[in-house]
Amino acid sequence: MVISKEDLMKSERQAAMVFDLNKCIGCQTCSVACKVLWTREDGMDYQWWCTVNTQPGRGAPKDWEQMGGGYRDGVPNPGIIPTREECGGGWDFNYDEVFYGGKGRSVHLHPIGEAPTWGPNWDEDQGGGEYPNSFFFYLPRLCNHCTRPVCVEACPRNAMYKRNEDGVVLRDETRCRGYRFCLEACPYKKIYFNYAKKISQHCIFCFPRIEKGVAPACARQCPGRLVFVGFLDDVDGPIHKLVREWEVAIPLHPEYGTGPNVFYIPPLAPYRLNEDGSIDETTPRIPTEYLEKLFGPRVNKALDTLKAEMAKTKNGGKSDLMNMLIVYHWHELFGPFTKDPAELTWK
């Protein structure tokens, strides 16, 4: 049977997420929630479908922004495949040797094998700038479930597709042969190779959950209450309002050309300090150029809107945007996915 790439890359509706970076505290609950739910099996040890990294930083996999991928002038531009070392993680430790080895203090707990030099969150809280004007913020990343998924385009076995009903990008794991063209193609480097099964794998947007009306684990388990989920075309939902109406939520590296469906509300930062410790009200602590590099030029308007609306509440006024971002009731984050999973029963 013949099915075109165009068919595989299309969907009727698009599920999307918005991460409010001004609420993100880098706690890794999203990453761990995902890890415990989906990636504990052999071959998945080092896989973190969701990671949170400190920006600026080299991220995970190490230096992923320099690895290419995505589209250039509308044409797929294959990059490189991150190595196992560049991903890092998946460590096991010498617990037994320390606890029961009879070696006392001559051994301490450490990863078994060669000492790691990188991991899923190796440059945590390092950031940039100089004291006292250092700066950093947290950036959670997962598969962007792109509108023009270059991974789907690249798959020689047509094993990858966007689901018609929600735009979730999946890979038929029974069809995948582990050629890893998708890893080359993905500019966000959020696809991993399963060394046991010899297939590629990535975030599945918790589709078994959203099918049952339950928000993805990373969103529902986020204690910072910063992950909005919903359909982009739901004009009453928060995603549409934040992305399309307020335009405060913008994609990461839009220039990669894949049309990401994970959006970010860009970060504010405390006032910079002058040499004498007084407040510098003009120069932003996080350099504008850096934010533009990450989020493109639209970041400036998003930040301006955010600041203007914050000023309203600070001066005793009202702001619909602030009300939305406060999230008075937790379920407001999840659009149609507000079901409590514990209420589900099987069989």
């Binding site: 009727e12 505290i25 969150n121 250092s134 600070k314």
Partner: protein, 943 residues
């Protein structure tokens, strides 16, 4: 090429193919692989009873094929106050990965007995009977040879739950053994709050932060340590609030603040006092609040710097009656001890007056406020800036904001871990006092508290189960409260309840660990090093210690005495060798050789367990019934249920302690030793130990005991009527409806409102009830002789002494992001979210000057000891500062040598003060506590 898969085309695939729109991928039945993965057999309630505060995160535990598969936040808290965000979904990454500890390699499944040297890692698996027999014999030997006080249970927050280590103190009570005060052990104390308010533990509900118009994150790093509820701070900002981060380093919590205010390490009092000065000088202080709520209008004698007291002016006058100068009547009048409202009096804050003493002589007196003005002359923004490094204009800007806005100081327990933490906190409280910033929503300072679960305390006094007995205990408690209040009708119930604690807890064997360390663990030598103390300490530490003991300030709690060596120690769910300041340097060298047996009860191996003689395996939180310790922050009782049976031979702690009681009784009878008297004159019997431990066997089962706690709590009126263990299973948590009987709850001093956030001290500000201090007011002037001698009668700034020696770096700390103390620090999954090993954070310029690069292992040392640690470079660290977040297992460091080993654990001598109003021991409140922040170290390149 697709032919091979056509055979697997399912009905669902065909249905999907028929959908309109773009052609869908035709072979979607493979998706069932993931759908099947997301299924389970059973769901149970769970929470993580570790010493995480406030904790109480309701979780659902998903069980599949008999094992815990995963967990997820329940997210079922209701909205408390309309217009305030709800608390869902409380939890963090540790909670989300807890199941991975259940079956991790740290888990202990069988009783272990040491088979080599302590700490050698050689073990023999033994039967429960053998382990308990050995322990029982060691306990009996110790009682017979030395006395029951040689048997000591180390006070720990013990898994942070009620069904764990706290229950061992019941056995200690019956044996006449000792329990060390948990606050003295951990030092999550806020001495400055205690000095000011007569209680260290104001604790707003977590959602109250939403109401703040100005939040100072000060001595706290909530982005690491308050993961489940930091969002209220972020949301307060969207609500129009501003956030100020005050710290030496631009720590992670600076991220989402409006202002970063860098201070030189330990100089926070200078910053706070400068803001106080601005507020006073600019006349923007809240005079009404100051006159009514604080001691600032009380009169002080110029001749001896003491308060003017009734005993000075009349024969038989009270020691604790103080005076105002009333500007209306132009006379000196008594300051009411029972009511803060001023009615027709308008106390002077300024001026000098004359008082006539009882011998007819006259002395000049001044309000504290006038003296404060003089003290603050040293803290103009410019002068303070030279001390703390904060720009003077920024100090002015902030001071003006505080005076105008509902201001909340989001404080942790970092300040209290500084040598002069009391001065920091007193200065911060003073700023709030001057601006009227407590006792209303969105304001105040914060520490920790517990209360409400009264059934637990009632159980200690019960001789049989049932509500009739509960009523007898309640009557007894109320009678004592009434007797106490009859002696002084101006006393509040809170004050009487605190006196009750002072009377009974030492009798129950609670002792202050500082004296234990002084007598038995080698700390006397450290504490007598003058160069590690503040130069304003006029005499030797021993001199103050001697005076304190001679005056009986610590009678009953300074046990075991010097001539009573410790023999058997128990720890349940703690990590003594890591937690204690001085750690292995002090304890392994000085204490361990004296011990015949160290027993560790836990479900996971830790460094202390590695140095134990017998390790008893406990059930994990998903394998037993337990409750997280409730707190005013959350105000719910949260259940963790038995989702799966205990793995291996592990047992719930209560079951272990009951078996131990039974074994001690059995072995005591065998040796014909069944009765004795302890040093306090109390008789103990061993021939009915099991019956008394279990109330005649009625609560021998953990579920029965838990149910008794819950039902008694409901009976006492702090849980809804008829709440039982079973009804608790409906939602996994139940809301408390009142503070309960303990002084910790009553000390919140605010009505318990079910539809509002909680902010403490509203009884003081709204109902004008007095504070539990000597002066019955928020007290900033401490005229204890030692404080006068030290020049600390009012808050001042003093430099942190060179603890550990004269070295260039100051080592600071704080809780980390990745673990709760050492719990989870070795969780294999959580370890992948950092570098998987300990590290010290350092400024890149400091590192470069020593040729050190990122991730390089360095040697850190001072006069106490040394250790090796890799560095992580970050420009957010202040030059001259090095940070090691605490929680690493010592066994993660080379030679197991960790940062605690370079901490001398210094105690500020003023914390030995007693015999003065509220400066008296009371469990988890006023007592000497060792400090650790800003210890001096040097950093050396190794290679």
């Amino acid at each position: 090429m697709f032919g091979a898969s056509l055979g697997s085309l399912s009905l669902k695939d065909l249905q999907q193919k028929q959908r309109p729109g773009p052609q869908d991928y035709p072979y979607r039945s493979w998706e069932d692989l993931y759908r099947q993965q997301w299924t389970w057999d059973k769901v149970a309630w769970g929470t993580h009873c570790v010493d995480c505060y406030p904790g109480n995160c309701p979780f659902r535990v998903y069980v599949k094929e008999g094992i815990v598969w995963r967990e997820e936040q329940a997210g079922n808290f209701e909205v408390v106050e309309k217009g305030v965000p709800d608390m869902n979904p409380m939890g963090c990454q540790k909670g989300a990965g807890w199941s991975q500890l259940l079956y991790g390699k740290e888990r202990i499944l069988y009783p272990l007995k040491r088979a080599g040297e302590r700490g050698e890692g050689k073990w023999k698996r033994v039967s429960w009977d053998e382990a308990l027999t050995d322990i029982a014999d060691a306990v009996l030997d110790s009682i017979q040879e030395v006395g029951p006080e040689s048997v000591i249970h180390i006070g720990t927050p013990a898994q942070g739950g009620f069904m764990s280590g706290l229950l061992l103190s019941r056995l200690m009570l019956l044996l006449g053994g000792l329990n060390t005060d948990v606050q003295g052990e951990i030092n999550d104390f806020s001495p400055g709050f205690y000095l000011t308010f007569g209680k260290f533990d104001p604790a707003s509900s977590v959602d109250d932060w939403f109401h703040a118009e100005l939040t100072f994150i000060w001595h706290k790093n909530p982005i690491y340590t308050s993961i489940p509820w930091y969002h209220f701070v972020a949301e307060s900002r969207y609500n129009g609030g501003e956030v100020v981060s005050v710290a030496p380093d631009a720590n992670p919590s600076t991220l989402h603040s409006d202002y970063f205010v860098p201070v030189r390490i330990g100089t926070d009092p200078a910053l706070a006092l400068a803001m106080c000065k601005v507020v006073i000088d600019e006349g923007i202080y809240n005079a009404t609040f100051v006159k009514e709520q604080t001691d600032l209008p009380l009169l002080v004698r110029e001749d001896d710097r003491h308060f003017l007291r009734a005993r000075d002016v009349q024969d038989g006058g009270r020691e604790d009656q103080f005076y105002f100068f009333d500007t209306k009547s132009q006379s000196i009048v008594e300051a009411s001890r029972g009511y803060l409202g001023l009615d027709d009096i308008d106390p002077a804050l300024e001026g000098t007056y004359e008082a006539t003493l009882k011998d007819g002589s006259r002395v000049k007196v001044r309000p504290v406020f006038a003296i404060l003005r003089e003290t603050l002359e040293d803290y103009t923004p410019e002068k303070a800036s030279e001390i703390c490094g904060t720009n003077p204009d920024l100090i002015r800007t902030l001071a003006r904001k505080v005076s105008q806005k509902r201001t909340s100081l989001f404080t942790g327990w970092n300040s209290g871990k500084y040598y002069h933490g009391d001065l920091m906190e007193r200065s911060m409280c003073l700023l709030l006092a001057l601006t009227g910033n407590w006792g209303k929503k969105g304001t105040g300072v914060r520490s920790w508290s517990t209360s409400m679960f009264d059934g637990f305390n009632i159980a200690y006094a019960k001789e049989r189960t049932g509500r009739e007995e509960t009523q007898r205990i309640l009557d007894m408690r109320n009678n004592i409260i009434n007797v106490v209040r009859a002696q002084d009708p101006t006393m509040t119930e809170e004050m009487a309840a605190s006196e009750l604690g002072r009377m009974f807890d030492p009798q129950g064997g609670t002792v202050t660990p500082a004296f234990f360390w002084y007598f038995h663990a080698g700390y006397r030598e450290n504490w007598n090093k003058r160069e590690w103390h503040d130069p304003s300490m006029k005499r030797s530490f021993d001199d103050y210690m001697q005076e304190a003991l001679e005056k009986g300030w610590w009678a009953g709690v300074s046990r075991p005495a010097e001539d009573t060596p410790p023999r058997v120690m128990f720890e349940v769910g703690g990590n003594y060798l890591r937690r204690t300041r001085g750690g292995q340097t002090m304890l392994l060298k000085h204490l361990w050789p004296k011990l015949k047996m160290f027993v560790q009860v836990d479900w996971r191996m830790n460094t202390t367990g590695l140095h134990s003689d017998i390790f008893l395996p406990a059930a994990q939180h998903y394998e037993k019934i337990t409750f997280h310790i409730p707190t005013p922050h959350i105000r719910y009782l949260t259940l963790s249920d038995e989702a799966v049976p205990p793995a291996g031979e592990s047992k719930p702690e209560w079951e272990i302690f009951v078996l131990l009681a039974k074994k001690i009784e059995e072995r005591a009878k065998e040796r014909g030793f069944t009765q004795y008297t302890d040093s306090q004159g109390f008789n103990h019997r061993l021939d009915n130990l099991y019956d008394r431990m279990t109330l005649d066997g009625e609560v021998a089962e953990p579920a029965a005991l838990a149910d008794e706690f819950v039902q008694d709590t409901a009976y006492a009126g702090t849980l809804p009527e008829d709440t039982t263990l079973d009804t608790l299973r409906e939602k996994g948590h139940v809301r408390f409806i009142d503070w309960g009987l303990s002084a910790y709850g009553l000390g919140q001093a605010s009505d318990f409102k079910l539809d509002e956030t909680h902010n403490p001290f509203r009884w003081h500000t709204e109902k004008k009830t007095p504070y539990n201090t000597l002066t019955r007011r928020a007290q900033f002037y401490i005229d204890h002789d030692w404080f006068l001698e030290a020049g600390e009668e009012l808050p001042v700034h003093k430099e942190t002494p060179n603890q550990g020696g004269n070295y260039p770096f100051q080592l600071t700390s704080g809780h980390n992001r990745w673990s709760i103390h050492t719990m989870n620090i070795t969780n294999r999954i959580i370890q992948q979210t950092h570098r998987g090993k300990p590290h010290m954070v350092m400024n890149p310029d400091d590192a470069a000057a020593r040729g050190i690069v990122d991730d390089e292992e360095v040697r850190v040392f001072n006069d106490m000891n040394s250790f090796f640690v890799p560095v992580r470079l970050s420009p957010s660290v202040r030059p001259g500062q090095v940070i090691i977040y605490n929680g690493w297992e010592p066994y993660q460091f080379r030679e197991w040598k960790d940062p605690a080993m370079v901490e001398p654990g210094m105690i500020k001598w003023l914390q030995l003060a007693g015999g003065y109003g509220h400066l008296r021991y009371w469990p988890i409140q006023w007592q000497p506590v060792p400090t650790d922040r800003a210890v001096r170290v040097d950093v050396a390149k190794v290679k």
